[in-house]
Structures are given as structure tokens and as C-alpha cells.
Amino acid sequence: MAKSNKMFADKAFELIKELERSSQTIPPFDDDGVRQVLEEIKAIFEENCAQAANYSTSGDRTLWPLLNFRHAALQRNKRCLLTYLYQRLLRIKALRWEFGPIIPEDIKTSLCEPEVNFFNTYSKSLASYMRSIGDGQGIDLTGDLRPPKSLYIEVRCIVDYGKFELEDGEVIYLKKNSQHYLPRAQVETLVRQGILQHIT
């Protein structure tokens, strides 16, 4: 099974390294890689099975170390696969906090079916939790990921946006290259959309 310079579980380890290296928010799910690892596991298992059967009939103990070694390789493959999936799940969770309940189209294509399902369920349970707290009104926990330093922020307008109404009825005309001092909570979305720029 093992080729000249290839070890067991190389493929699985490659999967994790690939995930670690990628600079994207989440790289596409490596269907092919996962399948190859699964095949490897299957092959190892079948070989082990055959030899184990051989042992039970003949009682030949010489193959025992080999059996143990194969089993360890199989375990390692399994651990690597689980790590791969778990790390992706963590990233998907982070997605929910960053982008809200709807996955952006370009990211959606890199998720596999079960992952999308997981995202939806996670999103649902997060939403129901947020609704349950805060004295019946609910709190948007995703609003401030880091505790804000001040209630107001200084922003600079990067594009011509037009009028923007604050919660207290104050109307602000957002024009390119003007600078404003506004309540953080209300302009945060505009900052995320790239209309305003937060200046420090």
C-alpha cells in the first residue's frame, strides 16, 4: 500500500495544512481530498481485517506489530479528518457573527451541503437565544463584537450617500469627503458597507 516516500495519513495531514494556509474566509470544501482519505482508511481497515482473520485461524503472532501500526495510522487519519471538519465548523460559526444570518453568495459556494445545514441550525439557535434574553426585547449580540470605547465615533464619508436619518429624527446629509461625529450604533452598518470610514 505505502509507496516509496509516502506515509500513511499524508493525505489527511495535507488537508489540514491546506485549510490552515488558505487566506480566504473559508476555502472550498475539499471533496476529493476527503474521499481519498476515506478510501485510505477503508483500504487499511480491509487489510487489517484480512490479517486479523488469518490470525484467528492460524494463531500466528508475527503480524501483530504490523496490525497495531496500521491501526494507529487509521486512528490518525480519523483524527485529521475530524480536525478538518471541526476547524471548518469554527469558521462557519464566525461567519454567522460577522455577516449575519444570510451567507454571502460567494462563500456559500465553498460550503458543502451538511455545512449549510449546520449554519442554518446554528443561526436559528443563536437567534432564538438572542430573542430570549434582554427582558423580553432581545439583544443583538452580534452588534458589538468588541466593547465600544465611546458611544460616538468620528466618520468620514467615502461616497455620496445622500440623506441619512438618525433615530432621534436628526437628518444628516452624507456627502463625499465630509466628516461627521455620529452615534456609533446607528452608523455601524454604514461603516461595514464601506460608505463611511471610521477615523481614529
Binding site: Y152, E154, K163, E170, I172, Y173, N177, Q179, Y181, L182
Partner: protein
Amino acid sequence: MFIQDLRQDFYNRLVGKRLLIIVNYDIDAICASKILQSLFKYDHMLYSVVPIMGLAGLQRAYNEHQGDVKFVLLINCGGCVDIVELLQPEEDVTFFICDAHRPLDVCNIYSDRQVCILGDPALEENIPAFESIFCQSEDEDSENDADDDVGNDSGAGGSDEEGSEKAQQPPAHKLSRLERHEQRIIKQRQRRTWENERDRIMFEYTQYSFYGRSTALTIFELAWKLSKDNMDLLWWAIVGLTEQLILGKIESSAYTLEIEHVQSHVSRLTNKTNDQSNTSASKINFENDLHLVLYRHWSVVESMRYSMYCACKMRLWTLRGEKRLHELLVEMGLPLVQARQMFSAMDLVLRQEFYKMLEKLAEKYGIPDIVYGSFTLNYGYRNRYAAADYVYGMLAILESVKKDKTPEDCFLEALDSLSRNHRDIMLEGIENAKLLLSSIFKQVQSSLEAHQVLSTGTFFYYILTEENTYFSYPYGLTLLAKFILNGHVAGSRSRQAPELPLIASCPVDVERGLCLLVGIPPVREDSPKNFFGKAFEQAASKCNAVILQDFFDSSLIQIRQNDMAKFLDALTVLLA
């Protein structure tokens, strides 16, 4: 209306309200707005800052925000025009004006509610009295009636109205027709003399344009009264004040008076923070400095050559001037190798003694005014800036308009460059300022050698025919024009030369044929008062040239290239 108690009548009135701040494109205004912004931040007041360039920009900015804001603050703009007339605001909008441009428009001064000028009326010069320029509206009505009557009398068919008016008059007040006529004529004559007098007063008042107190300093004093001042705010105020000196907006005597106040603020704030200070904390020092541009960031030779004062006194663009500069360096004991490398890389001993050596020899080489009092900012272990360095750096940033960089971007960059955590922007600005200054010098050298400064007998003029990356902008052109005038006068044998002003022009938009035109007062005149604003206006109306007086600085105008010759002729006649 003047507001003197800024804390009570300006700041406290605004707390909790939203404010629109309209800022002119100049360094003083940028510093002032920066100080204000940090004040407003402490009190969580909403504000919007809009940079504008010129009157049209002011109008546009106001119209866009119209209806949404009730309080508008104009920084270094709008003081010299009738704001209510220009913007036609709603009744409930209040304007606060903090403007260093003078003379202030009389309508702003005598507005009773809508326009508030931040400043002390005692500091203003000869504002015409209310009675001498405005007459009561009732008077005006009746006199208008009188005017009408006169018109009717001289006309043919005015008897109807004549009759009706007579009917209105009570019978007891019967006067003979002759007497009434006489009275009317007397009244009319009075009115005419009064009008002439008013025109004379107004002309005298608006004849010269000049600059008043630095806006940044005014705003800083507000911060001080609110006990919210700190080192950074003070530094920005100093930069604002220094700009006025460096660009020749105020006399050096006015500057000297102001720095005394500033110095007391410096020592107060230094003592306040003393207990927690260490060597790396920011510190402002008052010290005598040299009128050498950016010499802390440049080499001594280059800095001396590109400084206007030094270059003009020693005529450094000539071979003899160059020799004299070398003589000076020899006498100072400064080896050429050292003088040609960056100041910061010079030997420590030479660096420490540089100021003293130059001060000692200044008198001998005819450059006694090279010493002036200024401030330096220290922070960290390496960062040391003179206020003038900041001014030149910001100037270069403001002028660094490129294809993909609008003037607004430059404004915001200049605003950023004031904060200490954007040191890189300032350093880049200083590098650009070196390029600007050296290209000014080269331009001066080549134009003086080619005798491009021409005289009409009443003024000099100097016309650039090609668009230039440096001189197509107001600051660049003004600096160049000043340098050229001083250089030309220094090299001219004519006794009349120091008394003549200079007009310089440079195309800004070749396709549309537009030129920027700037007037510089004569060298001999001590005060920076500039009479060109009014003169341009009159010359243009005389020769029907279309000029665009859009800048808040009235000595800067835009004119069509085709009208230029006509306009200069008219100006020659006017100034003769």
C-alpha cells in the same frame, strides 16, 4: 453681532445641538476645526465638517445641508460677505462666524440675531458706526416718497398723485408749494451728501483686505476657558498662528504680541503636566528660531538658498550671491561637507552651535531679521518639529492635488496630518514642501535672469504661460509671487522699485482658458494690507472683463486669458 463670551454665548448654546462646520481651505482654519472637533467630542455633540473652497462652495455646502441644521459655524470664511444675503437662510438658522479675513462685512456686524461673529469688537479697526451707513427704514420710505414726488414734478403727468398726496396731508399743515419744494430739495441734498459720505466711509472701510487674529488661537482660548485645553490643542493653535506669520498674513509685531499670550499657555500647561512627564512625553518649547525653511529636515546650504528672506537679501540666485553664502559658511566655521548633508546628520557640536553662529554673523551679512521667536514640539526621542515645519508640510499637502486626488482629499489628509499618530503623512508633506520650495527658487532664478518681471510704471507684472503643478494653486502662486517681487526689488537699481506692487498670474485650466491672478503689496509697505481686492473689482467693471472673485482672499481672482491684456490696461489706468 459680536460675541465676546465664547463660553456662554457660543459653546453652551450649542451643547446638545447638532452643528454644521464649514471650513475654508487654509491651515489656520484646519487647525481651528481640529481643536473644535476635539472639544465637541468631549461633550458628545454631533457635528459635520465640510471643507469648502470659495464662495460657490460655501453656497453649495449650505444648500445641501439646508433644512437639517439650525446652527452653522463658518471657519475662516464668510466674514467678508453678507451671509444672510448670500445664503438666504430660514429665520431660525443661526450662523456663527469665526473668520480671520478682514474687513468684516457691516451687515454681519450689525445683524442683531442671525449672524454672530466670534471675536472682540475692541480689536477691530474703524468699523463704521451704524448711523453712518444705515438709515432708518421709515426715513427711507418717506424719502422714497419724496424721490417719487420729485420725479413726478419734473415729469409731465404727475398731477394725480400730487393731488392724492395733498389730500392726505392734514389741512393744518398747509405749506405753499414753493416751501414744500424747497424742503424736499433740502432733504434731498442732505440725503445726497449723506450717501456720498456713506460711500466714502464704506470705501475706506473695504479698501484694504487684511487678516485679523488667528482663528485657531481664538478657538484655543475657548478651550482654555472651558478648562479642556491640552498640549495637542495648544500646538495646533501655534501652527495656526505661525501660518499667518509665514504666509505674511500678519505683521511680525502682531505676531510678537500674540506669542506672548501663547508662551504663558505653554508654561502653564508644561507645569501642569510636569509631575507625570518624562523625556518621551510631548513638550512644547519656546525658543528663538531662524527664518530658514525646514532646516531641521534639510541641509543647511539648501535651506538657506530656498528661504525667501535669506535668498533675497544675499541674492543667492547670482554667482556673487553663491560666493557670499560660501563666505558666510566659512566664517561660521561650517565645512561644506557638513553643510551639504542633512542637518540631522551633521556633527553634534556644529548642530548645537548652528543657531548661535548664524545669529552672530546675521548682522554682518545683512540678514538681521532672520531670528524670530517660535515654538518647537518634542515628542518621543527623535521627533522634533518647529511650528514652521508643520506649516510648510501642511501647505504641501494642501497643494498636492493630483488627477486621482481631489482638493477635498488633500484637505482631509492635512487634517489628519495634525494628529500625532499620522506622522508619516506629515513627513511626506515635508518632503513635498522641499520640492515645492526648490521649484519656486528655480522659477525665480530663471525668471529674474530672463527679465520676465515687467513694469507698467504703476505696478510689476509677471505672467506664467504654462500650467504648472506647483503654481496653479493659490498658495504656490502667492509664495512664488512674493519671492519674485522681493527678488526683483533686491536686484533692481530703480529707486521706485520697492514702492511698486506685483501682479502674478498662472493658467489653471488651459482648456477653459482660465488664469489665477494674485496681487502682492509693495515691498516697502510694512503692513500686509492688500488693496488689490477692490482694485481688481473696479478694473474689471471698467473694462468689462469677467473675473471670478470666488476666493475668500480678495487679492486672488480667476480671469479669462483673453481678458488679461484688457484687464491689465484698465488696472494701469486705475492705479496711476
